[in-house]
Subunit: 267 residues, 2 copies
């Protein structure tokens, strides 16, 4: 299927369109499930309302996330198709900086998908990839859907799990198992955003390089200093601020109503 648009660089949504093309290509490589495209669309909408930039409260969450990862005993970075397609390199870097393992963790385990995602991670420099080749043998009870399978060396045994762009059922399952959960989710009202211990309300493409840099910076701190950062962090406040930012942007726009130069205004 050729869905290339030959979109001009001047197009108001050129960057969004390039990312979309990257994702649709990854449906063909099997990295992405079709449902991943719909999820991406939801993220686009929330990002648009958020103003398409990393907010101060997202930066606070990024700092807390880095501290939680560095303090963890057995941290794991959970990788699904969307995350692999969008930021495999940063995941591998984050894994190196924090000592966290990489685990492929899929909602839709279609034939060939695990392998395709593993390949993307290995191409990005990953040496060990959990959750593939039948190694996802442990089971976690989910809430509304089928049971999930996870790697007994990875998520199953982890104390901290980083699950960017995750489904609400799975996040709830992890929380119920007593895991500390960090997520990246553009919808502060999603169940994942609400259940997680640290929610970075930001586009994963913007947040991941910042998270890697922050983990590098905080690596110099002692454990007590890291604990201080974590104790001072309030996820409810971060979620509230994200919704507040969206609300303010909508208010400013709604006062105008029509703000794009119109060519005709009669009904």
């Amino acid at each position: 299927m050729n869905e290339e648009n030959h979109v001009s660089r001047k197009h108001p949504r050129a960057e969004s369109i390039r990312i979309r093309e990257r994702l649709t290509r990854h449906v063909k490589t099997r990295v992405l499930a079709l449902a991943g495209l719909i999820a991406h669309g939801r993220g686009e909408a929330f990002d648009y309302i958020l103003g398409e930039e990393t907010t101060p409260s997202a930066s606070k969450a990024i700092t807390a996330a880095a501290a939680v990862l560095l303090l963890a005993e057995r941290p794991v970075l959970s990788v699904n198709g969307n995350v692999a397609a969008l930021c495999a390199r940063e995941l591998v870097e984050l894994s190196r900086v924090t000592g966290a393992k990489l685990e492929v963790n899929l909602f839709h385990r279609l034939p060939g998908r695990e392998e395709a995602i593993e390949e993307v991670l290995r191409e990005a420099g990953a040496e060990e990839v959990l959750g593939v080749e039948g190694s996802a043998l442990a089971r976690i009870d989910e809430v509304f859907s089928d049971r999930r399978r996870v790697d007994p060396r990875g998520i199953y045994a982890a104390d901290v799990v980083f699950v960017p762009l995750e489904d609400g059922d799975r996040t709830e399952g992890l929380i119920r198992m007593g895991k500390r959960v960090i997520t990246v989710d553009l919808n502060p009202m999603s169940r994942t955003a609400q259940f997680a211990n640290v929610t970075i309300v930001d586009n994963v493409v913007r947040a991941m390089p910042l998270l890697v840099r922050e983990a590098e910076r905080l690596r110099e701190l002692c454990r007590n200093e890291l604990r201080g950062i974590v104790d001072a962090f309030d996820n409810g406040e971060v979620l509230s601020e994200a919704m507040g930012t969206m609300e303010l942007r909508l208010r400013a726009l709604s006062e105008k109503g029509v703000y794009i130069e119109p060519r005709s205004r009669r009904a």
Copy 2:
């Protein structure tokens, strides 16, 4: 690809998930392009913020849309993959009630897509379908992407075009040609929503049956009464109200911050 989730009916998003499954099935029938899945996700997010119900201002826009269609000399209903997958039957009904022609009008003209969409419309009872079998011979200049092709008997000659879930470039192209444009778009800030003469900010699945019913009701009125409805309609006000509704909902949520029952709240 089998992406069935076996989702429980009690799942908080069960209805959304059923619609998603319907759309992913239509990728296989070729009715939907992959980009259509991303677009659907954007709509889901805006619908969620809007409260997933038809607002009073959307109802006003539906009434105005029905009046504009009934007053039109050569109205055309433009059908793309998402609309065909979600409400083919209602499109055929609207065509009958208003005398508007149906035209398949695609951004992504992939092999077999026109035919697949035509088939969906014919199964829903359509007798005439324009824009297929090489009949889309007239060209319209678009703004940022390739030229579009339209049927000289349909959109090209139309005075009023109903383009639900349309791309911004195409809507702008139609407005520049002097067409009166009616759309359904959940994002009141999109270029389509902003450029159109009548914008129904609602889920097309909810709006279409209401639009059909409204067209049936207004058919009893004389042209002067219909003109009165159109003259009293203000699209800027409708867009402003839609953004205001979203803003209020976000404000109510942001005051709570965390509102889904949490199992753990430490960072």
